[in-house]
């Protein structure tokens, strides 16, 4: 008999893993006990509480084996495209071609957390003049320098323009140290001027036709460069097929979010949901496997919802979470404080929305890139968050600041003001460093206070 849904430690997972194996668990090639990643240096795992389902095991193993997959791709002679900053757009082009793998070097963001700073990546960035006044994505500089976390890509792309200064500056530093970058422009999304023709973006915002045309031009250039790098021509039908597959991932994730966030008792913890959402951006360097991982998770969640079970109490405060956290432990912490995540804006809502299929593929990708919540005004992002919170029945919001991030200084204030003004719900702004241990007590106090306020409001 399967145990009830629960969150368990790494040690408990070893026992659970042995039991599952004894029951005949079949795993993909990257499977194995989770604790083996600890031996690889992923020390943070010992502080986390994981979902106890085989689907979650597969998710974590998939996430934590990405490096191996990338190095294997290199050995197999596949073309590797490093796509920086756009979060979800350029990989769709790369995956349109066979034997091509795309990944986000930005993912090094989490290395200092996962390895509890033992990787020295932040120290390397420091030595390159990129100190803690920058976002933790600076770890990427160290990762390029050591070459230990991913192989040097055959092509490196980066979107700039309406992007954070942190990333733009760090990528420029990278380029100056000898990693050539294909820069492409994403302009700030703006309302149409009087008389300008408008186009509707995924998510519903309207933008001027000229902005879409400009970004489509950028996509054409990227498609050409990717084709050149792979020695193949990126044809329209390849792209259309790739968009279709991307929509498959997005569709699955949409269903997973719907089921998991709307359920009375959270069927899956916030941390697994965060990891699952991230898959929509980069597919962990294997898109087909991403689909399989998400299908497993969705099936598990559906089973639990049908059985009326979950990993948290139904009484948990329904909290909407804004921005990803540099330390995954923060997601566990909210749950320990009596909250649960009921909706999120992890800064890549555009990577979750369905890509239009009734327009030429490159234009569809351009529309998607322009729908990025971070390229528009913070006020628009705040409006979308409020609408999402209302639909999710959120009772409070956590705005999680990213240390050093240029957008967090102003954006948090705008989002908090909108939530208080429109929904009259409690909001807390916290800052989550790559390892939260030093600030754990204060974070706990603040998250507990938020949950308390939710409970008081319920009683009123």
């Amino acid at each position: 008999m399967s145990p009830a849904p629960a969150q368990i430690t790494l040690g408990q997972w070893d026992e659970r893993y042995a039991a599952l194996r004894a029951e005949g668990l079949r795993e993909p090639s990257y499977g194995g006990p989770l604790s083996r990643h600890l031996a690889d240096g992923d020390r943070r795992l010992s502080c986390l509480r994981f979902d106890n389902s085989p689907a979650a095991l597969r998710l974590w193993n998939f996430l934590l084996s990405e490096e191996d997959r990338l190095f294997a791709a290199r050995r197999e002679g596949k073309t590797i495209i490093g796509t920086m900053k756009d979060l979800g757009t350029v990989p769709i082009m790369a995956y349109a071609l066979e034997d091509t793998v795309a990944f986000y070097p930005d993912g090094a963001w989490w290395q200092p957390c996962v390895m509890e700073l033992s990787d020295g990546l932040l120290a390397r960035a420091d030595a390159m003049g990129i100190d803690e006044s920058f976002c933790p994505v600076r770890a990427m500089l160290g990762a390029f320098e050591t070459g230990e976390h991913f192989p040097a890509p055959d092509l490196l792309t980066c979107s700039v323009g309406a992007t954070c200064d942190d990333f733009s500056a760090i990528a420029q530093r990278l380029s100056a140290t000898g990693f050539p970058i294909l820069w492409w422009e994403i302009p700030p999304r703006r309302p149409c001027d009087p008389g300008e023709a408008a186009i509707r973006l995924p998510g519903g915002r309207r933008v001027s036709r000229s902005q879409v045309a400009f970004v489509t031009g950028q996509m054409q250039h990227l498609a050409w460069a990717i084709g050149q790098t792979c020695g193949k021509r990126l044809r329209r039908r390849h792209l259309a097929q790739s968009i279709h597959q991307a929509n498959r991932v997005r569709g699955l994730l949409g269903e997973l979010r719907e089921e998991a966030y709307r359920a009375a008792a959270a069927p899956l913890g916030a941390m697994e949901m965060l990891v699952a959402e991230m898959l929509a951006i980069h597919y962990c360097s294997d898109r087909d496997e991403t689909v399989a991982v998400l299908e497993d998770l969705l099936a598990e969640v559906r089973r639990r919802v049908a059985a009326g079970t979950g990993v948290l109490e139904a009484a948990a405060a329904r909290v909407y979470w804004v921005n990803p956290v540099a330390d995954l432990r923060a997601m566990n912490l909210l749950e320990e404080c009596g909250g649960r995540v009921c909706g999120t804006d992890y800064m890549f809502g555009h990577a979750l929305a369905r890509i239009p299929t009734n327009v030429p593929p490159l234009e569809a990708l351009a529309r998607m890139a322009l729908a990025d919540p971070m390229v528009g005004p913070a006020g628009q992002r705040a409006e979308d968050i409020c609408a999402d919170m209302a639909a999710a029945g959120a009772e409070a919001a956590v705005i999680s600041r990213i240390p050093g991030a240029s957008h967090c200084a102003t954006e948090g204030a705008v989002i908090a003001e909108e939530i208080r003004g429109r929904l009259a719900l409690p909001v807390v702004e916290i800052e989550v460093p790559p390892v939260i241990d030093a600030v754990m007590a204060s974070l706990k106090t603040r998250l507990s206070a938020l949950v308390e306020r939710v409970k008081e409001r319920r009683e009123r």
Partner: protein, 333 residues
């Protein structure tokens, strides 16, 4: 006549002037105390102070902001959230070699033009625009020649004055102050100033350098005279006025925001050769990632010593600046 303020070097005042409106470079009095209401931590104090001043100053009818950096874009949005003052966001493409980047800058100027017309301005003919550009270009050239002979503070103020009052007439007001005071440039160790923009209070940096025995030969701060537009080239081609602005502003002004930003370094190498500066004082505002990230590269490739000076709201600017300038001068002694 309506006043249209701007604070970014990539906004051409002659474009505003040619539309029959009054351009005004906005230079905040100071970076503020750091105790202002609203968010301050994590924000470039200059971007914040400029956006706040643009919205609050009753003498300003509209503000042209840019997306040169995320800080400007977001600080402007925050300041303008509850204001009815018209604000125009001009996008200056960062990926300067990407296809369509230059065309986009031109298109953005044209979009700005339509905004100015909606404000009450009049669309200029090509000749009117070229005339306005020529007058600004001549004024900048004359100021550049004069700057070589006057103290750095006066040169900076005269440049700001030109950007505020325009190049009007043969004896324009911005030149009067220079001529009236007529102090010669003090001799000293040649220093190049590079980095983020200065406030009026921040001009103390220039005084400190001169008091410590230095001589500012180039002021290439973000709003300094050395980062002004290039001189207007001969206009006998069929290029539009906006194309000339693209060449003289977008292609010319050295700034770290461009991707790649090699031009900043090419410009710097050529300028150092010409001006014989023996040291660089690098100004950066705390939380400005764009300038900050260049410091290590600059130090590695500069043929002369570089000392950096970070500025923040609430600083005792004079005291902090004095120490850093002294450090630079000692390195050069």
């Amino acid at each position: 006549m309506k006043t249209v303020a701007y604070s970014c070097p990539f906004v051409p005042p002659e474009w505003i002037a040619a539309h029959g409106l009054r351009p005004r470079l906005l230079v905040p009095a100071s970076l503020g105390t750091g105790a202002e209401s609203g968010p301050t931590a994590g924000l470039c104090a200059f971007a914040r102070a400029a956006a706040q001043a643009a919205v609050e100053d009753g003498a300003i009818d509209a503000y042209v902001a840019t997306s040169l950096c995320d800080q400007r874009r977001r600080a402007t949005e925050l300041a303008a959230r509850h204001s009815k003052k018209p604000v125009f966001m001009l996008h200056v493409p960062a990926a300067c070699r990407a296809p369509g980047a230059e065309a986009m800058y031109i298109a953005e100027l044209q979009r700005l033009g339509r905004f100015l017309v909606r404000l009450g301005g009049k669309e200029p003919s090509r000749d009117e625009l070229i005339l306005a550009m020529r007058r600004y270009s001549v004024a900048r050239a004359s100021l550049a020649a004069t700057s070589a002979t006057i103290p750095a503070r006066q040169a900076a103020e005269a440049y700001w004055n030109l950007c505020e009052n325009g190049p009007a007439g043969d004896a324009p007001p911005w030149l009067w102050a220079v001529q009236r005071e007529g102090k010669p440039k003090p001799p000293g160790v040649p220093i190049l100033l590079l980095g983020g923009p200065l406030t009026r209070e921040g001009l103390v940096v220039l005084d400190c350098i001169e008091q410590a025995g230095g001589c500012v030969v180039v002021n290439a701060t973000e709003n300094g005279p050395a980062t002004a537009a290039a001189p207007l080239p001969p206009v006998h081609t069929k290029a539009s006025g906006a194309q000339f602005l693209m060449r003289t502003y977008y292609r010319h002004i050295p700034h770290p925001f461009s991707r790649p930003n090699d031009w900043l370094y090419e410009w710097l190498a050529a300028t150092l050769t010409k001006c014989h500066a023996r040291g660089i004082l690098f100004i950066r505002h705390v939380w400005c990632d764009l300038w900050h990230a260049e410091l290590a590269r600059l130090k590695a490739c500069s043929p002369v010593p570089v000392v950096d000076l970070d500025l923040a709201a609430g600083d005792d600017t004079a005291a902090r600046v004095g120490g850093r300038v002294q450090a630079l001068m000692e390195m050069l002694a």
